[in-house]
Symmetry: C2
DNA sequence: GATCTGCATGAAACCGGTTACATCAAGGGC
DNA sequence: GCCCTTGATGTAACCGGTTTCATGCAGATC
């Protein structure tokens, strides 16, 4: 591999000049520049990022910390980030925090050791204080996580409103007994969604019934278990609001196994709108999270911050995608 | 951040000694070592990877080139690679080749500029010659792609046999008119699967009928279109072998829309066994690709190669996962 | 024509490690 | 007791860039 030194020799200039041409930091005379450019082309020069980073302090990499690789929602965000980073000169290093703040701290430490220029944290539950310290050190953007005491950039959507809208949709179609399959206990997004559910109930003067709420963990299995539990308890419901699409899939299957039709007997609303949801039988009505866009937008914010620019705030909303798993009560 | 110099001063030794302690390259006297270790702990020393890489020639990163981020199968492999890499000291840089050899070449070039120590190529269609040149330069493992003229390590599964088994399964249950929704034209895996399909037919003395084969592209939409097309043409079939699970989802939905029950009227076999498949209605019978294992195994192979070791060949097979989308012909 | 100014360029230090080589003290062999 | 070996450690060069500062040259000013 050709080094900057080789280029310099070939173009009869000094290393410094070559560096200037590459980085456009200082004006270089036209003919000199041409000679350097030609030499770089001839030798197929590819700058050594390691050296560059060591000298210049920038590694041109950004760290992405995702949670539980394999979860559709977080994965899609990560993909959005990666796609948003392509052709920016920055390369992504993707690591998994596994929804544990200790693991997250660890992986972040190795990312720092790699001199990443910026950090994108998808979800996670790192304490605000740690985050703030991190952000004082290098640009950090938080995705899919709301946090008070956080002054840095943050890309998130309003889960409470989404939960409200999902529930209102069912209510408007005449449903009054709406079961909820909750996400992981204490998970802020899950909590917000249930809060929205309650608001919609209050608004419609439907008393809140705790029996209709079953716990879950965002898995399809928890959707099955939730429905089985409700049915075994003899609890009546005509609508189901699932924590996410995976749980909705499980719920839909359990209903099927118990001879309940969707949507004729029970309506189901999911959350996320993952790729498969449009092709369920019946296609799933769900709250679409703009996961890809969230990822891309956070990449844009980070790049802007790294360049000292600011990027216009972009309003991302969770929207109801009305398909065929919901019907009017008859 | 503390540097090796700071450690050296604090432990009253030279930089070299600190380096030796860190890398265990040369014996260091017990008390000296202890002093250094203590100093590192005190100062929370985290070696600068950039400097390390520049000096030592190793970057402790590996490049992962995936195709079309967002495709369940390739994504799962990538996840496997990432998980296989965790705690090895190597960090993954993930890029998307987008199923275009020009894009792949480009992203690989930037990975080389980043001094990645090894490369994992998932799928793709880079010409064998390029690959060989690449492999001469740095350890490279090929995943989910079979290639003659390739002497390097390669993790793949036998798609022909899988296609054969899927078809045989249907035949054994009495099906004789089995439609195929093909994957992308010319995609080697897709071609192999259809070859296996033909072999099973031949073995059972069922004449091959070209009308039963419809084109597709691994998308759910193509599953819908395929079934619609067959139905419109009035072509009769009792079984469907889909290129992958996404296509199977689409096919299943199209059958539903046309009043055909699965599996009572038509049996469906998918390919991949992605997470959602077990929760379809009915749960999808499919050929399980050990995607995660493939990723992990290829990571293991690469790490071993980087350490100059060899890792025992591991036989990975595609297996039939029998669920409820297939029934015996009545 | 001498002096000043400004622009293009070169020399060298520096980033934080690794490593070949030099040095030095202690122990062993005669 | 002297010399050689051996093992531990220090010194300094080096990896491939960036950046500060010095330098030299041309044109402008008087």
């Amino acid at each position: 591999m050709a080094t900057i030194q080789d280029i310099a020799k070939r173009a009869n200039v000094s290393k410094a000049t070559v560096s200037r041409v590459i980085n456009n930091t200082t004006p270089v005379a036209g003919r000199t520049r041409d000679a350097v450019v030609a030499a770089m082309k001839d030798l197929k020069f590819q700058p050594n990022m390691m050296a560059r980073s060591l000298a210049g302090g920038r590694s041109m990499t950004v760290g992405i910390v995702t949670q539980k690789i394999g979860s559709p929602f977080y994965d899609t965000i990560a993909q959005g980030v990666i796609s948003g980073l392509s052709n920016t000169g920055y390369s992504p290093i993707l690591v998994d925090g596994q929804w544990e703040s200790s693991t997250s701290s660890e992986v972040i430490a190795t990312l720092l050791g790699r001199n990443v220029d910026g950090l994108i944290l998808i979800g996670g539950d790192l304490p605000a204080a740690n985050l703030q310290k991190l952000h004082d050190r290098l640009p950090t953007v938080l995705v899919a996580r709301e946090l008070k005491d956080w002054s840095g950039p943050c890309v998130h959507v309003d889960n409470e409103t989404a939960g409200y809208r999902a529930t209102r949709h069912l209510i408007q179609l005449g449903h009054r007994s709406i079961a909820v399959i909750r996400g992981i206990e204490g998970h802020p997004n899950a909590v917000d969604r249930v809060d929205g559910y309650r608001r919609a109930l209050d608004e419609a003067n439907i008393p809140f019934n705790d029996d209709l709420i079953v716990s879950g963990d965002f898995s399809a299995q928890s959707g099955i278990l939730g429905i089985e539990f409700l049915l075994n308890q003899g609890i009546r419901f005509t609508g189901v609001f699932a924590a996410n699409d995976m749980a909705a899939f499980g719920a839909r299957l359990a209903l099927h196994r118990n001879g309940l039709r969707v949507p004729e007997d029970v309506s189901v609303v999911g959350f996320d709108d993952q790729a498969e949801s449009a092709f369920m039988t019946p296609p799933l009505t769900t709250m679409r999270q703009p996961a890809t866009e969230m990822g891309q937008h956070s990449a844009a914010i980070l790049i802007a911050a790294l360049d000292g620019r600011k990027v216009p705030e972009q309003r991302l909303e969770i929207q109801l995608v009305s398909r065929e798993s919901v019907a009017r009560m008859t």
